[in-house]
Amino acid sequence: MYVAVKGGEKAIDNAHALMAKRRRGDTGIAELSVEQIRQQLPLAVDRVMNEGSVYDPQLAALALKQASGDAVEAIFLLRAYRTTLPRIGYSEPLDTEAMQIERRVSGTFKDLPGGQILGPTYDYTHRLLDFSLLADAQAEGAEEAAESADSKLAVEVEACPRVLELLNKEGLIENSRQPDEADQVPGDLTRQPISYPADRALRLQNLARGDEGFLLSLSYASMRGYGDSHPFAGEMRCGRVTVELVPEELGFPIEVGEVQLTECEMVNQFHGSKEQPPQFTRGYGLVFGYSERKAMSMALIDRSLRCEELGEQVLYPNQDQEFVLSHSDCVSANGFVSHLKLPHYVDFQSELEMIRRLRSESVEVQSGDNATEQPEAEA
């Protein structure tokens, strides 16, 4: 049991002032603006939006600045802020097929309609530190990029239909819905806590806001043998998607803006069950911003959590939905681990006394034993 403590106000105030000073660093160096963080650390901003579960790059950049760049602390700040805002309905389901593609690759199909577009990526780089970034030399690269954009004005990106469904004429890949299936209203874990077993829609909501490192490691384990996973990246796409909603007072859908999304479809070998023939099954990942690692991990874990539905045995933690879903949230995990730093004096005192008592009891028992043994030893 935790017993509250009082006092320490002055020291806490001073500690916060010291933190602010440390966050600012050397005042001889120009201060970072929130807009600079948003523009120049966009992948850090995307992670905060994902796990903070709020799409707002400016707020996420502000949170990163306030948290001295600590992603988990920034995510916590964003989650706390979201509780102060009213909910204005739900969007229409996002149409990722109509995405304005900025990047699109497939690990399974070489020639796909619309082609493969590498977009901005760190893939294929040699991971050598670029010391030119140490100098203020970024202006040259920017000019080059502007030139190449000018010289290629009329190039169009062709339509990019969803690969898996397009190439599924043989029926070797499962469909994501039956032809006459009507939309159901999905559960919302921000309104109603998860109860187990959770359906796939609720699991995906949990995974979308789950800790990237946790999901990455679990999906890695599922591929290394702690799970029967033989995945391929069917398609990965990044780009902008229009957000539509239907305001009550209008009664028709309107577009309210655009969000940057990353979508990943994994295909997995499936040997078939009593009900289903051997085929490829699918795992799905959809996340905010440019977050490929997160989208892939989400898709892999989505698939591994479908084991029961597909008649597979639950043998490993990454197939156990209660294990995955109840430990995926970095705010919960961080909160529970971090609370150990708070004063537990009364708690610890009682355990200390218990250990002392056990010890003295065992000493008494031992000395009693010794007393009875002694004559024998002498004998």
Partner: protein
Amino acid sequence: MTASTDQQVQARQRWISVLAKADSEQLQQLWQQCLMQLGAAPDYQFIRKPESGLTMLRGRIGGSGQPFNLGEMTLTRCALRLESGTLGVSYIQGRNHQHALLAALADALLQQDEHDLIQRQLITPLASQQRADREARDSASADTKVDFFTLVRGED
């Protein structure tokens, strides 16, 4: 719904979209130019003052399956009534109250006599900027189009 109201709704959907996706600063600048031509700022009453909140974005499982809740997005809405009685409504991504106010005002004016002026001075330049931005992004992406080839091509 009759054919003409259908068309009216579609036209309104188009300008609402352009206003929502507009860059806030460009919207503000173009609005100042509109005000000069209008002579005076239109009088209005708030039905709902600009209010920021969150809307839950939904995706679909596998891209085309059942809906699921993906995560929230900040959203600002505003509703107002002009002196003529016309209602203007806006729902804008983000937290910019001024943007939401101007979008609601423009939505109202576009439904009455000022339609042509606002369409010409505000919507057309905003829409062409959005088109240009989109083309520039497409062009940058198209430069990175790749044709991988396997060393042994089964189909050859």
